[in-house]
């Protein structure tokens, strides 16, 4: 019923999709997988009318279609629910559910009575009983996602695209959602299901399409493909090599008996973090494990004072930080490489040079005047050491590739000679070569005695990188794995809550 034929999409400097084909039959649940940057979201945006493809065709029920906007796609029967709930937080639940297709009274006015009644009925079927007149934002994230799903299904969808719908859901909400998905497929609705959670894919999906670097590299029955092969398609590595030598630039583990450098105690913030405590030792990579929404990124941010806390302390080198804010944390030698490079890391309009020295500005200035000579020395050193590929130090950093942007950010921190380096998804969305380089660099830094905290949803990277894993769930520490316990199986079990 959906037939995508040879679609390509080009952006300035990138070929986001290259000759991608995909077919989905009615009632089929089709898994769409690939690493970050593989082209999944671009493909989804082509299907939902956000982008128009440069080449190729999209056929719906055998007829070629071309959508100029999400509205046209929806009218044609393609609904989408996104990872981030795309509803209007200030409006009521019912209004969100019926926005744009409200039941009308004769005379052009909305029939609110009927709307509220129907909204309550619909949501009850999705396991939500709530006053539908309340603003959406007063609901929990899981409930909001259910409202989004209810909305997507209610518009007579023929094809439902689900983009990581479970990434912010609790396990029991995931169960409800999976049941809904099965039911929808039984009704003959075609579903494209995007997720990073392999368990979910194997439970739900019939067929799979794997994207890598904008190309479709595999299409077929999911049951015929075991996990190792699926992963190897996604990563573009030989399965034998995957099992033999690992996938990352990390080499073995570091052993250290050093005293803890940083002690984190009782970090608490209402609804986000609950009494999170752990230690970090120099010369060791401490992993913060947890699923998305477990509070791992929030913990990292809290340590460097970027997340306001209700209570909790951070001690570094025996000195307790009195005020926790980014500037104080940086002065104390604690730096965070943020998860969202574009939103929180780079200043795109500024040059590579200025991005590197940004945090070091006060240190290389005199009476408020910046010394150009010292800047150039730092920039030269780190561009060589990290092998940053740019036309010149004066090139705007926004024009670099993701991997080089990430290296620029690393350089920004390393030139401060930090004592604790927190890395939140350091290799997300960067190419394979740069990924291995970044991993090797982290490895080397830890060997040289730096204390490193690593967060990664790339399991291989996490297992091979981390020497010790602090497991977080729902904003609280639920355990710690050390030494031989740090394996994929061990971590998965810990994350799933089946503490060994």
């Amino acid at each position: 019923m959906l037939d995508v034929r040879g679609v390509s999409k080009r952006f300035p400097g990138v070929l986001a999709l290259q000759d991608v084909s995909l077919t989905v039959a009615p009632g089929e649940v089709h898994a769409l997988v690939g690493e970050n940057g593989a082209g999944k979201s671009t493909l989804i945006k082509v299907l939902t009318g956000v982008y128009t493809p440069d080449e190729g065709q999209v056929l719906l029920d055998g007829a070629p279609v071309s959508f100029g906007s999400p509205r046209e796609a929806q009218n044609a029967g393609i609904s989408t629910i996104y990872q981030e709930v795309n509803l209007v937080p200030l409006m009521s639940v019912a209004r969100n559910l019926f926005l744009g297709r409200e039941p009308m009274l004769p005379g052009g006015l909305i029939d609110f009575g009927r709307m509220h009644r129907e909204a309550a009925q619909t949501l009850a079927r999705f396991g939500i009983t709530v006053d539908v007149r309340r603003p959406l934002r007063s609901l929990g994230l899981g409930a909001q996602q259910m409202v989004a799903l209810a909305r997507a299904v209610a518009v007579d969808a023929k094809l439902l695209i689900m983009d990581e719908p479970t990434s912010s859901l609790e396990p029991r909400e995931v169960q409800t959602l999976e049941a809904v998905v099965r039911d929808l497929s039984a009704q003959g609705i075609a579903i494209i299901y995007v997720s990073h959670r392999l368990d979910e894919l194997y439970r739900l999906c019939d067929r799979v399409t794997v994207l890598r670097d904008g190309r479709g590299v595999h299409s077929g029955k999911l049951a015929d493909l075991d996990r190792l092969h699926l992963v190897s398609h996604m990563l573009g590595r030989d399965p034998a090599a995957v099992s033999r030598e690992g996938l990352t630039g990390f080499e073995g583990h570091h052993d250290t008996d050093a005293e803890p450098l940083v002690s984190v105690r009782g970090l608490t913030r209402r609804h986000v973090l609950h009494d999170v405590s752990f230690d970090v030792r120099p010369g060791e990579v401490t992993g913060l494990g947890g699923l998305l929404g477990s509070g791992r990124s929030e913990t990292a941010k809290a340590v460097v004072g970027a997340l306001p806390l209700d209570s909790g302390t951070v001690t570094i080198g025996g000195r307790r930080l009195r005020r926790l804010n980014p500037a104080a944390a940086i002065r104390a030698g604690m730096v965070l490489l943020p998860e969202d490079r574009k939103a929180e890391g780079i200043v795109p309009e500024l040059s590579v040079r200025e991005n590197i020295v940004l945090a070091a500005l006060p240190r290389i200035s005199r009476f408020g005047l910046v010394s150009r000579k010292r800047q150039d020395r730092i920039v030269e050193t780190f561009m060589q050491r990290l092998r940053i590929k740019a036309a010149s130090p004066e090139q705007p950093v926004g024009e670099l590739s993701g991997g080089n942007q990430q290296k620029v950010l690393l350089a920004r921190w390393l030139c401060l000679h930090p004592r604790l380096l927190l890395l939140d998804e350091p290799t997300r969305g960067i190419d394979v070569g740069a990924k291995a380089e970044v991993q090797a660099l982290v490895d080397e830094l830890a060997r040289d005695g730096l204390a490193v905290v690593l967060i990664s949803s790339d399991l291989e990277e996490f297992v091979e990188g981390a020497d010790r894993v602090v497991v977080l769930r729902a904003g609280a520490v639920t355990g710690e794995l050390t030494g031989d316990e740090v394996t994929e199986a061990g971590i998965m079990a810990a994350l799933a809550g089946e503490q060994a």
């Binding site: 019926f98 926005l99 909305i110 079927r125 049941a179």
Partner: protein
């Protein structure tokens, strides 16, 4: 699009998805946000009635009403624009232009006097909307430019402001501005009618819901398939139209197209809208709140006049102070509500 398909939705095992309760503090905050202006208005009216014997008279109330009517019509359009996440700084100029065009057009009778300002001012609003929605330019700069452009057009029409067009005092059009019904001027009734229609439009129609959605989250509105650009264009066009209409009515009342009117009126309109509880960042608000805001400004102006010793410039000082207080309170309220 039928809605019956929702009934065919699946019935999985009943998992209770956790739903969070709002605290009492949040509800009070919401209440304050929506009805704060009304409460302040009530207090000011009561205090002023006790303090100044001449305040609480029918004649004075009629005066406040007719003086507020024009700002009210302008502020109505502004309410839609602000709820939709934008701002329209051109309304003061467009108001003045509407007055001049009405006076100019009155030579062709009632129809000319109304049609000319409505068409031209509506067109200015339409251009604002097109530039903002289609060319994606920042609303404040677009409407700031059309503030200038409309004022330029007005000057060009009136020989650089030297010429004032008059309206025949006996004409039907002049009656529209000067006549009264049940003691209230026609403009007051027209403003009330406009608010009634505006209220229905905002709260009870798809267009109104879409305005809320666009202002609340433009991205989500687009993803949900709403015609975002069209909604914005309609909203800005309506704002221009209403400002022009208010200007025309005012000209009818004054029997002439006064060229120096409307300077700073956009600020009063914004102040009234925001004081009335509409979020300046968009996504929430009401026309009834705007009405309260307009009346509050009118009453304060009246009180300042009653005191007599005060300069009338105090009006804008009070408006500015009010604006700061309301917006700061709004920010803290919505922040406390968002912390979950």
């Amino acid at each position: 699009m039928s809605t019956t398909s929702t009934l065919a939705a699946p019935a999985p095992q009943r998992h209770e998805v956790p739903v969070e309760q709002s605290t009492r503090g949040e509800r009070i905050a919401g209440l304050l946000q929506r009805h704060g202006a009304l409460a302040v208005l009530g207090i000011v009216v009561v205090v002023a009635s006790i303090r100044f014997p001449s305040f609480g008279t029918v004649g004075n109330a009629q005066g406040v009403a007719i003086q507020s009517a024009f700002l009210a019509i302008v502020a109505l359009g502004m309410t839609f624009v602000i709820i939709g996440g934008g701002i329209d700084l051109s309304v003061g100029s467009v108001f003045a232009l509407g007055g001049v065009l009405a006076a100019y057009g009155s030579r062709w009778g009632m129809l000319g006097a109304l049609l000319l300002p409505l068409v031209v001012c509506g067109a200015i609003g339409l251009v604002n909307g097109l530039l903002i929605a289609r060319a994606r330019l920042a609303p404040f700069i677009v409407t700031l430019a059309s503030l200038l452009g409309a004022r330029g057009l007005l000057l060009a029409l009136t020989d650089e402001g030297a010429q004032t067009y008059l309206i025949d005092k006996t004409s039907a059009f002049a009656k529209l501005g000067q006549g009264t019904l049940l003691g209230l001027g026609y403009p007051v009734w027209l403003a009330l009618l406009a608010f009634a229609v505006g209220g229905l439009l905002l709260q009870r129609t798809r267009y109104g819901q879409a305005v809320f959605a666009v202002g609340g989250s433009e991205q989500a509105a687009a993803m949900m398939g709403l015609p975002v650009a069209r909604i914005k264009i309609i909203t800005y066009a309506a704002s221009g139209l209403l400002a022009g209409f208010a200007g025309a009515l005012n000209a009818a009342r004054l029997s002439s197209g006064v060229t120096i009117l409307g300077v700073g009126m956009e600020l009063d309109a914004i102040a009234a809208v925001v004081i009335g509880g509409t979020l300046l960042v968009g996504g929430a608000g009401s026309v009834s709140g705007t009405l309260c805001g307009v009346l509050l400004l009118g009453v304060i102006q009246n009180v300042i006049n009653q005191i007599g010793t005060l300069d009338s410039s105090y009006q804008s000082v009070v408006s500015g102070a009010f604006l700061i207080v309301v917006v700061v309170v709004q920010t803290y309220l919505s922040r406390s509500q968002r912390l979950r």
